[in-house]
């Protein structure tokens, strides 16, 4: 019953439905990439700088080295989405952990956690990511961790606020009066109630992470073995005056995906927090 209600409320938001549909297409593209383009997308397959439509074999054209842009976009979807999801997962785990402990226990624990969060917020995010990547090395996992580390603070704040509101509710007191341990109360009683707004925020962090990764790759600090969309934009930047499509096509892919993720976040918000929208 509850699940159907959830889907019904989500579907009422048209934008979210369109967003979810497009994200699904991108995800399918990522999963089925080896089926459509079984060979390495970074292989040189044709003449360089073929414009889209110029050669029917390469509908989106080729880049400066003569690689198939469509193949790279399809394969790049996989890298880009994975980076977004994993970075968001890292940020969510850190954020929920810190926020839950700070909000539940309060006092000096809260004080320390929130000062730490403020410290992270005062450092410009992109510079922080670049610093970590430069120090630790340009591997995919380092980039994911770096993005996670700069993105957890809003999630921690939101989780903390939810926990603060919920920890004095009577059902939590009832659990305490039964002798339930703090750990169990946090995990099984408060967390399920605190999660809906956090999930919405996490979905937006996925979008943010994709943008971060694009920026990192654009600046040439991405993982050289992965053809993410950001790297495609970066590779094309020397030719932006003549063959601008090499940058524009992956750029549009990033834009659409990020937009769709935001629409889905909106829809999740409507679906998970129905009280805000009823009537």
């Amino acid at each position: 019953m509850q699940r159907f209600e959830f889907l019904g409320r989500f579907a009422r938001n048209r934008g979210a439905l369109v967003g979810a549909g497009l994200i699904l297409v991108v995800a399918l593209m990522a999963i089925l990439a080896p089926v459509f383009f079984p060979t390495d997308p970074l292989r040189i397959v044709g003449l360089p700088e073929l414009w889209p439509g110029e050669d029917s074999e390469f509908p989106l054209g080729t880049d400066s080295l003569g690689r198939d842009i469509l193949a790279m976009i399809v394969h790049g979807a996989r890298a880009t989405l994975l980076i977004g999801l994993f970075a968001s997962a890292v940020a969510t785990i850190i954020g929920v952990g810190v926020g839950a402990i700070a909000g539940y226990f309060g006092g000096w624990v809260d004080e320390i956690a929130m000062r730490a969060a403020e410290l992270f917020q005062t450092i410009p995010n992109l510079i922080f990511v670049l610093t970590i990547v430069v120090i630790l090395g340009s591997t995919l996992s380092n980039i994911v961790i770096a993005i996670g580390i700069v993105s957890w603070t809003p999630i921690a704040r939101m989780t903390r606020a939810e926990f603060l509101a919920l920890r004095d509710r009577e059902f939590v007191q009832a659990c305490r009066s039964m002798g339930m341990s703090d750990f169990r109360i946090i995990l099984t009683e408060i967390l399920p109630n605190a999660l809906p707004p956090v999930i919405v925020l996490s979905s937006l962090v996925v979008a943010g992470a994709i943008l971060f990764e694009s920026a990192v790759s654009f600046l040439g600090l991405g993982d050289p073995n992965v053809a993410s969309w950001g790297r495609l934009v970066g590779d094309g930047r020397q030719l932006i005056r003549s063959s601008w499509y090499i940058c524009a096509i992956p750029g549009i892919a990033i834009m659409i995906t990020v937009l769709c993720l935001n629409l889905v976040g909106d829809g999740l918000n409507d679906a998970l927090n129905p009280k805000l929208r009823d009537r």
């Binding site: 009577e170 059902f171 009832a174 009066s177 039964m178 339930m180 109630n193």
Partner: protein
């Protein structure tokens, strides 16, 4: 031996405005099978006292004894044992159940924590729901599918799960409609008859307390003003505050209401941050004299089993 014995219990909170002595030296006994009504206006510390007995807020002084055992140092096994004996029903039927837990899971919680086996739990939950008059399909449903009165029944089932000896009822019917309130009060009385459970019934509603309690304790700004049998309190209240409280309570009978003399108590409750020196009631008391502003009265026996804290009774 009393089931519950409070000896000079104190609870205080540090706020930005200073220390609030929410419970300021309360001594009280509750016998097995007794319903003790704890009455007072908002901010008098009655709910805080209930929470201190559940160890939901720490006591700053005094002793709380359950069957003669001081609960302050208890931990581990012994604390679990104490919790089995004392359970609580909360005021807000909408806040006291986890909205994302099924009713069955909420009611089963104390049993799970006590280490019961799954099939024994299922059977017990079934029985509990029947006792409080809920359909047995209630266990798979969520709290939002139930009305306020039904939710309060779920909270009662949860409190009964481990067959406690004492249930602390913190304003259990204040949020309910009149007709539903009567249902829940009747249920509490039935359960008492059936299982011999004792209640500490915390309420601001005098007419409800008068109906359900055997003995009544009247609280004001953290201290007890009067303790006595139900009839004694209603027929011959001793403390001026008790008298004022009774005079203020509306009576659902126009003839009785017109017949009684109403002396309306003047003034408002003083701030608990800054209570008047001496007797905390002296700022509103019609009988206040010099001594009341200098010396705090203590609760002392009056001879007929009642106790009052006033220099002039």
């Amino acid at each position: 031996m009393s089931l519950l014995s409070l000896k000079d219990v104190r609870v205080q909170f540090n706020t930005s405005g200073g220390i609030v002595r929410a419970v300021n030296g309360v001594s009280l006994d509750l016998a097995v099978g007794e319903t003790l009504g704890l009455v007072g206006e908002s901010g008098c510390g009655k709910s805080t006292l209930g929470k201190a007995i559940m160890k939901l807020v720490p006591a700053a002084g005094g002793q709380i004894l359950v069957e003669g055992v001081d609960i302050a140092p208890l931990s581990g096994e012994q604390l679990t044992d104490m919790r089995r004996k004392v359970q609580m029903i909360f005021q807000d039927p909408y806040g006291s159940l986890n909205p994302r837990s099924t009713v069955g899971r909420s009611v089963a919680q104390p049993l799970v924590l006590a280490g019961w086996k799954p099939d024994a739990i299922a059977e017990r939950v079934e029985t509990l729901l029947r006792w409080v008059g809920l359909p047995s399909d209630a266990r798979q449903r969520y709290p939002h599918e139930f009305s306020g009165g039904q939710r309060q029944r779920i909270g009662i089932a949860r409190a009964l799960a481990l067959s406690p000896k004492l249930i602390i009822c913190d304003e259990p019917v204040s949020a309910l409609d009149v007709s539903v309130r009567a249902q829940v009060i009747n249920l509490l009385e039935d359960l008492k008859g059936q299982f011999g459970v004792s209640y500490l019934f915390i309420s601001h509603d005098l007419s409800v307390v008068e109906h359900i309690a055997d003995r009544v304790a009247v609280m004001y700004l953290g201290m007890l003003f009067e303790v006595g049998g139900r009839d004694q309190i209603w027929k011959s209240p001793q403390h001026p505050y008790t008298r004022a409280l009774l005079a203020a309570a509306p009576i659902a009978n126009p003839k009785l209401a017109r017949a009684r003399q109403r002396t309306v108590l003047q003034g408002e409750l003083p701030s608990p941050l800054n209570p008047p020196p001496g007797c905390p009631f002296n700022s509103r008391c019609p009988m206040a004299q010099e001594r009341c502003r200098a010396e705090k009265p203590v609760l002392r026996p009056l001879g007929n089993g009642a106790q009052a804290a006033c220099h002039f009774v």
